[in-house]
């Protein structure tokens, strides 16, 4: 399906972008769509900071010796790369941008349930982000994003407290977003929008919100305990003060494992929408895909100690957490099979969002299957804390989550901006990202099995690791170009792009039944839903019967 050309509508319809002008109308807005754009700008800023750190890391590892930066600097680089990417990019990415923009529209609501709390959550994110920036500019932190004790509480002489508090504050932004989504999805659905008619994007965000609300407070408490031990010498984690260092790991991973699902579930939601649209089909096994999101959210809370198989936990605990980790792999597999089955007898289009969805499928499959290696006790004791782990979680969190995010940005960009992006460039960028990503991270699986430990600034005693590291560094520059391109042509399209029609993809879903870009309150009249999700049969029917229209 090619993008429809301009429909000849008047150029300047009133919409959420042009209704008010001025800085105040943005900084004090309670419009979920404007807040989504505020988030988009802020997380893009942090993405490029985190990406810059990543490139420096890769450049340092191009040669075995620690020659580009000193060991201390390297340690700060990978720490802040992780903290910025996890807490200030990936966790807010899809929920705070696409979720904020789309959740109300997809369920036929005017806004989120608590518009002011939504704005508050952006301000909390910004306060946390500024604290993090200040921390980085005044010396940084070198604990690893994992803050392991007693290193973080008693040995590191960097700005641990400031980084911890920055993440603590940003955590509340995440909690409030989750809370807002849960209430909105329960209370604000349009008439006729039953639970089984919800787009699966909504189910994915509902599951994500549960994790945000239940999990984030635990990491907040943990960081407060780290600060308390570091500042006040309360004995919690440091054995010299009577504490238990493994307690920290239990508390930290109780949040930080489910946090991976905060990153990947929304991405799965995006990919579900894209695959349905570009196969022109109802999603295969709607209820299984919906329930698998909830199953992932619930089981995700029961597997945290698989990060600790060699940390000194008992053999029996390791057995339990290994078997539970396999349990959480089943719903992820079910999703992959359902997406694949959706293509069967479809009418498949190859527009840019779909290419990103294919990329997601490929990278997520590899990331998920290598997770089986790490959940396997006998293999984990060799590959734990090596580059195998780095490769695995980048396949999930960058390959999966970021591919989904970019796919979603392309899919909904016409709705968000009212403009069409250049399709050729977008397809090219998808290809470059896919190739660059595999070139960067696949060699790291091999490095990991060879035994290269993570977080090594210097490997001059192990020159045998160099060639694979060179591949990886080369790939990272390709990947960098792939990520830069969309930013350039999205910005370009805002000024020079063709105006987007209301529904350029002929997609199902209420967000496409309003104008592009939407008005401040999304719909001129409250929509009444009388159809199932993904009713592509009716949309594509050659002689449409009475297709219900929202407005």
């Amino acid at each position: 399906m090619s993008m429809a050309t301009s429909t000849g509508q008047p150029v300047e319809r009133e919409n959420y972008l042009n209704k008010h002008y001025g800085v105040g109308s943005w900084l004090l807005t309670t419009d979920h769509k404007r807040i989504a754009l505020l988030y988009l700008i802020s997380i893009t800023f942090f993405f490029f900071i985190g990406g810059f750190f990543a490139l420096l890391i890769r450049l340092e590892l191009l040669t075995p010796a620690s020659d580009l930066v000193q060991a201390d600097t390297y340690n700060k680089l990978f720490t802040m790369h992780g903290q910025v990417m996890v807490f200030f990019f990936l966790i807010p990415s899809i929920p705070a941008v696409l979720g904020n923009f789309l959740v109300p529209m997809m369920i036929g609501a005017k806004d989120l349930a608590f518009p002011r709390i939504n704005l508050l959550s952006w301000y909390l994110y910004i306060i946390g982000g500024l604290m993090m920036l200040h921390c980085m500019l005044t010396g940084g932190v070198d604990t690893g994003w994992t803050f392991y004790t007693p290193f973080s509480t008693a040995f590191s002489n960097t700005k641990v407290i400031e980084a911890g508090l920055a993440i603590f504050v940003a955590g509340f932004s995440s909690i409030l977003t989750g809370l807002n989504f849960i209430v909105t999805i329960h209370r604000m659905r349009a008439p006729g929008m039953t639970w089984t008619r919800l787009p699966l994007f909504i189910w994915a965000h509902y599951a994500t919100s549960i994790i945000q609300v239940l999990g984030t407070p635990v990491v907040a408490i943990t960081l407060v305990l780290v600060v308390a031990e570091r500042a006040l010498h309360l004995g919690i984690f440091d054995p010299k003060l009577g504490g238990d260092p493994l307690l920290f790991q239990h508390l930290f991973w109780f949040y930080s494992h489910p946090a991976v699902y905060i990153m990947i579930l929304p991405s799965m939601g995006v990919v579900t929408e894209i695959i349905a649209c570009f196969s022109r089909k109802r999603i295969f096994g709607y209820s299984f895909v919906a329930l698998s999101s909830i199953a992932i959210a619930v089981f995700g809370f029961l597997v945290w100690a698989h990060h600790m198989f060699v940390a000194g936990i008992s053999v029996y605990a390791a057995l339990v957490f290994s078997i539970l980790s396999y349990a959480v792999a089943v719903p992820s597999a079910v999703k992959v099979f359902n997406w694949t089955a959706t293509l069967y007898k479809g009418s498949v289009h190859y527009d840019a969002p779909m290419l990103y969805a294919f990329g997601f499928l490929g990278l997520f499959t590899i990331g998920g299957l290598t997770g089986l290696f790490l959940a396997c006790l006998g293999v984990d004791m060799h590959v734990h804390d090596t580059y195998f782990v780095i490769a695995h979680f980048h396949y999930i969190m960058v390959g999966g989550a970021l591919m989904g995010y970019l796919g979603g940005m392309h899919f909904w960009w016409p709705k968000i901006s009212g403009k069409l992006y250049p399709e050729g460039w977008a397809r090219l960028a998808a290809l470059i990202v896919f190739i660059g990503f595999n070139l960067t991270f696949f060699p790291q699986f091999l490095l990991g099995y060879l035994g290269m430990p993570r977080r090594y600034a210097d490997y001059s005693h192990m020159p045998e690791f160099q060639i694979l590291n060179v591949f990886s560094t080369a790939g990272s520059t390709v990947l960098g170009v792939g990520y830069l391109l969309p930013m350039i042509y999205f910005l370009w399209s805002m000024r020079y792009g063709k105006p987007a029609p209301d529904n350029p993809w002929n997609a199902a879903g209420l967000e496409w039944k309003t104008q592009s870009p939407p008005t401040t309150f999304n719909f001129e009249e409250e929509p009444v839903v009388t159809w199932e999700a993904y009713n592509y049969e009716e949309i594509d029917a050659p002689h449409p019967q009475e297709v219900p229209v929202a407005r």
Partner: protein, 331 residues
């Protein structure tokens, strides 16, 4: 150039083959699953690509199909789990007659001390074919003892002992890495495991030493005055340590613990924590008064008071491999 481009790590321990076999199995299983999914995606996407006038055929889904692709993967996962558990269990259960080496990690070096008294830094000499048990602790932050050629890794945690073991199968020099990030020189906390033929090893062992570790421990035991209360004849104010190691100990609060390395260590550093039934809380703590190496020597001495072969510590390598072993020891 390609001499320097290995794709498979060296294999030099009795565990390495087991881990590799499991790994290869996983590569095959996940390779087949990847192939299945990729083929299906590519085939469907090509076969059912958009054609003018051809509409997609709507399919609701299929419960039998959903159950099939839930249950079959779950079954495969359980096989992987069980195999992985067996390999892990084996590598976490040190044979009872293993040679013991005490390891102390600190920023950024490894200190190793053989039970026979040899001390080494960042190097460990071991003979081919002998079971070696590592009793490890850290002086500061968490480290991790990782020998890729042995497929062996265990975090080294301050404030307690963790245990690992291996049996080297091929002489040579192998990397020892710290794999848990531990600060500035984390990537410099590396060393070598030097596996020698038994004859060479004996020659190396006969080099200068201060005597067995347990003898050092005995000396510290009397220097610190431990001996005044912990008398051999059970008449002291503290419990006699004769034959205690590896046996159950009844505690004042009614519980019973096994007197393993971690318990002996705790009794020295925090005597009140788990006090032996029938004794007064009069022992002072030695926290800060003894170094980790001295605690290791004391533990070795207490162990030497319970010679192998006495009840409870009988050598049953085969049984040990299949049973969880003793309390905290197998962590």
């Amino acid at each position: 150039m390609f001499d320097n481009f290995p794709l498979w790590p060296q294999r030099a321990s009795s565990t390495a083959g087991n881990v590799d076999a499991l790994f290869i199995f996983l590569v095959i299983v996940s390779g087949l699953m990847t192939l299945l999914i990729f083929t299906a995606v590519v085939y469907f996407a090509a076969r059912f690509r958009h054609r003018k006038g051809v509409l997609a055929e709507q399919i609701e889904g299929s419960v039998p199909l959903e159950l099939t692709w839930s249950i079959i993967p779950l079954g495969v996962f359980m096989v992987i789990f069980a195999w992985g558990a067996v390999v892990y269990f084996h590598s976490r259960t040190p044979p009872r007659d293993a040679t013991e080496v005490y390891v102390v990690g600190k920023q950024w070096m490894w200190k190793l001390e053989h039970a026979e008294g040899q001390r080494e830094i960042n190097e460990l000499h071991v003979p081919v074919g002998r079971d070696v048990k590592l009793i490890m602790t850290s002086q500061d932050v968490i480290h991790s003892f990782f020998v890729p050629a042995f497929r062996m890794k265990q975090d080294v945690v301050p404030g307690r002992y963790t245990v690992a073991w291996f049996r080297a199968t091929k002489s040579g020099t192998y990397h020892l890495f710290c794999s848990q990030y531990c600060g500035t020189q984390h990537s410099g906390m590396i060393g070598s495991i030097i596996v020698m033929e038994p004859a060479q090893y004996e020659a190396w062992m006969s080099g200068g030493t201060t005597g067995p570790l347990s003898a050092t421990g005995e000396k510290i035991f009397s220097e610190l005055g431990c001996v005044t209360c912990h008398r051999m004849d059970s008449q002291g104010r503290g419990p006699s340590l004769q034959g205690v190691f590896g046996k159950p100990v009844a505690l004042e609060d009614g519980r019973t613990v096994t007197a393993d390395e971690n318990y002996i260590r705790e009794c020295i550093l925090d005597p009140g924590a788990r006090r032996v039934k029938g004794f007064q809380p009069i022992m002072p703590t030695f926290q800060g008064l003894v170094t980790d190496e001295q605690v290791n020597a004391l533990v070795a001495y207490v162990k030497a008071l319970s010679p192998p072969g006495t009840a409870g510590t009988a050598t049953k390598t085969a049984a040990a491999a299949a049973t969880p072993g003793q309390g905290n020891q197998v962590q």
